[in-house]
């Protein structure tokens, strides 16, 4: 409930163009049956097939389709998460340079995420191979990995870095390279913070895939609302309600 409230609050602040892009992605996902947003090598193979079957089914066409599907996932899920950084680039650029700076930032960010897509999709295939059985087993396995990562101090460290708003040069070549570098840097930290939950979303197909994507987006939005904090086990997990905390007696 708290995550939903925070996500709603974050969505309210979202610039209209970002909201529009994200909504278009969701529409495409739910309406356009022709586009497979989950890599075809996953959704096309029979559940429970062994790892060799998956590998054998993989070719250039499958890779292209998989990357297209992954790209649509990014277009759908990332705009709400990129609002703060994109506004940072927009506000710190001269009016005549703004569009270029934003495009360079998106290029850096998107490239890192697309490159990360290959190992993430491979991991979801490997999970299916390891677990076997129904798709729900793969989802449960990916969920366990995601929960472990979410609770780890490394998750909080990478999440903190997602709050980075570095100085950006105003003039010259430095203005272009700063925007590109910021996009790539943020992409790396964002992959660090979200790789496990993205793998979870990739572990399902069909409606379950879309529902998991939605849940991951809401959670990722909510976890970016609070300010950075010291990293320790459990730091990035939602705070416990007061009645579950160690209590003092008040006089």
């Amino acid at each position: 409930v708290r995550a939903l409230r925070l996500a709603r609050h974050a969505l309210k602040q979202l610039p209209a163009p970002l909201l529009g892009v994200s909504l278009a992605g969701w529409l495409l996902l739910t309406l356009a049956q022709a586009v497979s947003t989950v890599p075809v090598c996953i959704s096309g193979a029979a559940p429970g097939a062994d790892f060799d079957t998956y590998v054998a089914a993989f070719g250039i066409a499958q890779l292209a389709a998989a990357m297209t599907g992954f790209g649509i996932m990014l277009i759908t899920m990332m705009p709400p998460l990129m609002s703060g950084p994109l506004l940072h680039v927009w506000r710190r650029s001269l009016t005549r340079r703004r569009l270029r700076a934003v495009l360079l930032f998106i290029a850096g960010f998107g490239l890192v995420w697309l490159m990360a897509g290959v190992p993430l999709m491979t991991m979801s295939i490997v999970i299916r191979g390891i677990v076997g059985g129904s798709e729900w087993c793969a989802i449960a396995f990916a969920l366990a990995i995601a929960l472990l990562w979410q609770a780890s101090p490394l998750k909080q460290i990478t999440l903190n870095r997602c709050h980075r708003r570095p100085p950006l040069a105003a003039f010259g070549l430095a203005a272009e390279t700063d925007a590109l570098r910021y996009g790539a840097d943020l992409g790396l930290w964002c992959v660090g913070a979200c790789w496990a939950t993205m793998t979870l979303a990739l572990s399902a197909s069909g409606l379950a895939h879309v529902m998991l994507m939605m849940a991951v987006t809401i959670m990722s939005l909510a976890e970016r609302v609070p300010a950075p904090q010291a990293a320790h086990w459990g730091a990035a997990l939602p705070a416990l309600p007061d009645d579950l905390r160690p209590a003092w007696t008040t006089r």
């Binding site: 710190r92 903190n160 105003a170 609070p226 950075p228 705070a239 003092w248 006089r251």
Partner: protein, 521 residues
């Protein structure tokens, strides 16, 4: 009748307010930190760094925080700065009043005094005598840790603040409560979630001047040291509330909020000029963590900004002693237009016309790179984008304003210091624009933009957070106006940062970028 908070500098000689305050502080200090109404727990509500508190010998072991997220709540770099601190003062005052009335058998109507350091010249800027020395019936108001561990002492006794530290006139002319990231940060700050000072938003105008500089000036300390026990209590948000003067300083900030609200809007002004936000995100926020305060009986309650807007309401029940005075004049625009050379009648007409809300600010110039504050005076050049100085001059042209059918109010200009990073909170710098070479800064108030304090900067710099450092914004419209009337606006501005204390510099203090923004009105 609401109780009256009075100016500490105007208390009659026979008045016992400070004596009772001192006695109550002693009582609260004797209680353990595990008591939510103790001096220590009340201080930890603002902030606590266990290692620093151990370094000052306030605690011996790591305490378990109380239930209900009571500690580490202070709100900085946010539009919750004023309402949270008001709620904090009310809870503190009620606990002290209860101790004074019931434990000490003193008056039942004790109120927290405030310290108005901005009006009253040099005498008003000197730390009130009762706080400066541990003497007589007010010895509880002196804390040796005000100057750090006490091994280095403080060059002044008592502390005398510079007029640039307490300057408040420009702060009071800010028209809107809520600010933006690039233009004015607003009188009250930017829209944020719960903000315990570990993210990168700029200080609101009142928080930046005089709030932060007064904190650092009263704590002082070693600018080169990254050890917070070398800084002094008021310098560090995690120890500030352990100095009894903290509460008088914040009562003054709270009073200035009320004074700002009492400024009269012109009939043509939008309804949010000199007014609190009506956004429910502010009134009922924050969404991500609730504000909580203790009652004298040790139970706790939650509150929102909406709950602390009317100080005369029974739950707050106080006013300040200057509230009967007529509201300060607010016709700053007319005076500004006249200073640009616009004839009085035209200035009155333009200033009286309906004004739309300001547009988003746009970047018009920036420095070449980072600035390191390792010398007493550091200069950086800020280059304006091609044609921008011409545009600034054109917007201030008397001819354009007198001959146009629909004259525009000239834009406002902001100097933003971004990604200010420091390992010490003790730095204090005066910011000047186009100060003549080799000039004595004190003799050029027309070039003075404001005071940059490092209050809270070390925490925002730490890698345990985002590491962004903080942002500070200064309204330099009067300086640009003056340069325009002198035909001295060029595409290259000089920004000088002058250390408030000679040697109060460090290679660890830096500004990531200096930028200039223009905001159409």
């Amino acid at each position: 009748m609401p109780l009256v908070r009075r100016d500490v500098l105007k208390l009659p000689k026979t008045d016992k307010t400070l004596e009772w305050y001192s006695k109550a502080v002693d009582v609260l200090k004797a209680e353990p930190i595990t008591d939510v109404t103790s001096w220590w727990s009340l201080g930890a509500m603002h902030g606590i760094d266990v290692d620093v508190w151990k370094g000052f010998h306030f605690i011996k072991s790591t305490p378990t925080p109380p239930s209900g997220s009571l500690w580490k709540q202070c709100q900085h770099q946010t539009w919750y700065f004023l309402p949270w601190h008001r709620g904090y003062l009310v809870a503190f005052e009620r606990i002290l009043r209860d101790v004074i009335a019931n434990k000490l058998k003193g008056p039942k109507d004790w109120t927290l005094p405030y310290w108005d350091y901005s009006d009253g010249g040099a005498a008003a800027r000197q730390l009130p005598a009762a706080f400066a020395k541990a003497t007589g019936t007010t010895k509880g108001l002196f804390v040796p840790q005000r100057y750090g561990t006490g091994t280095k002492g403080h060059p002044q006794s008592p502390i005398k603040m510079d007029s640039r530290v307490v300057a408040v006139d420009r702060t009071m002319t800010q028209r809107f409560f809520e600010g933006s990231n690039t233009g004015s940060p607003g009188f009250g700050g930017l829209k944020t979630p719960f903000s315990h000072g570990d993210d990168h938003s700029p200080f609101g105008v009142l928080e930046g001047q005089p709030h932060g500089p007064v904190h650092v000036a009263l704590g002082g300390g070693d600018t080169n040291s990254s050890n917070p026990t070398d800084w002094g209590l008021m310098t560090n948000p995690d120890t500030a509330a352990l100095d009894p003067i903290f509460w008088l300083h914040h009562a003054n900030i709270d009073r200035l909020w009320g004074k700002w609200l009492r400024q009269k809007r012109k009939p043509t002004d939008p309804s949010d000029v000199f007014a609190n936000p009506t956004d429910t995100d502010w009134l009922d926020g924050p969404q991500d963590r609730q504000f909580v305060m203790p009652r004298p009986d040790g139970t706790t309650y939650h509150f929102t900004a909406r709950d602390v807007l009317d100080t005369k309401a029974p739950a707050l029940d106080y006013i300040y002693d200057d509230e009967s005075a007529p509201p300060p004049s607010a016709d700053h625009l007319e005076a500004r237009l006249e200073s640009l050379g616009v004839p009085k009648r035209t200035a009155t007409t333009i200033a009286g016309a309906p004004m739309a809300p300001p547009k988003p600010a746009e970047l018009i110039g920036g420095s070449a790179g980072p600035v390191v504050l390792n010398k007493d005076v550091v200069e950086t050049r800020v280059r304006l984008d091609s044609g921008q100085s011409r545009q600034l001059s054109a917007a201030r042209s008397v001819q354009a304003m007198t001959e146009s059918v629909a004259p525009k109010v000239p834009d406002r200009v902001y100097l933003n210091l971004e990604n200010v990073r420091s390992k010490s909170d003790a730095g204090l710098f005066y910011v000047y624009v186009n100060l003549p070479a080799n000039a004595d800064p004190e003799k050029h108030p027309e070039c003075f933009a404001g005071t940059l304090s490092m209050f809270g900067v070390s925490k925002a710099t730490a890698q345990s957070g985002s590491g962004n450092g903080l942002n500070a914004s200064f309204d330099i419209t009067p300086i640009v106006d003056k340069l325009s009337t002198q035909n001295a606006l060029s595409d290259d501005l000089s920004v000088k940062l002058v250390a408030a204390k000679p040697g109060g510099t460090s290679p660890d203090i830096s500004i990531g970028h200096v930028r200039i923004y223009r905001q159409d009105q």
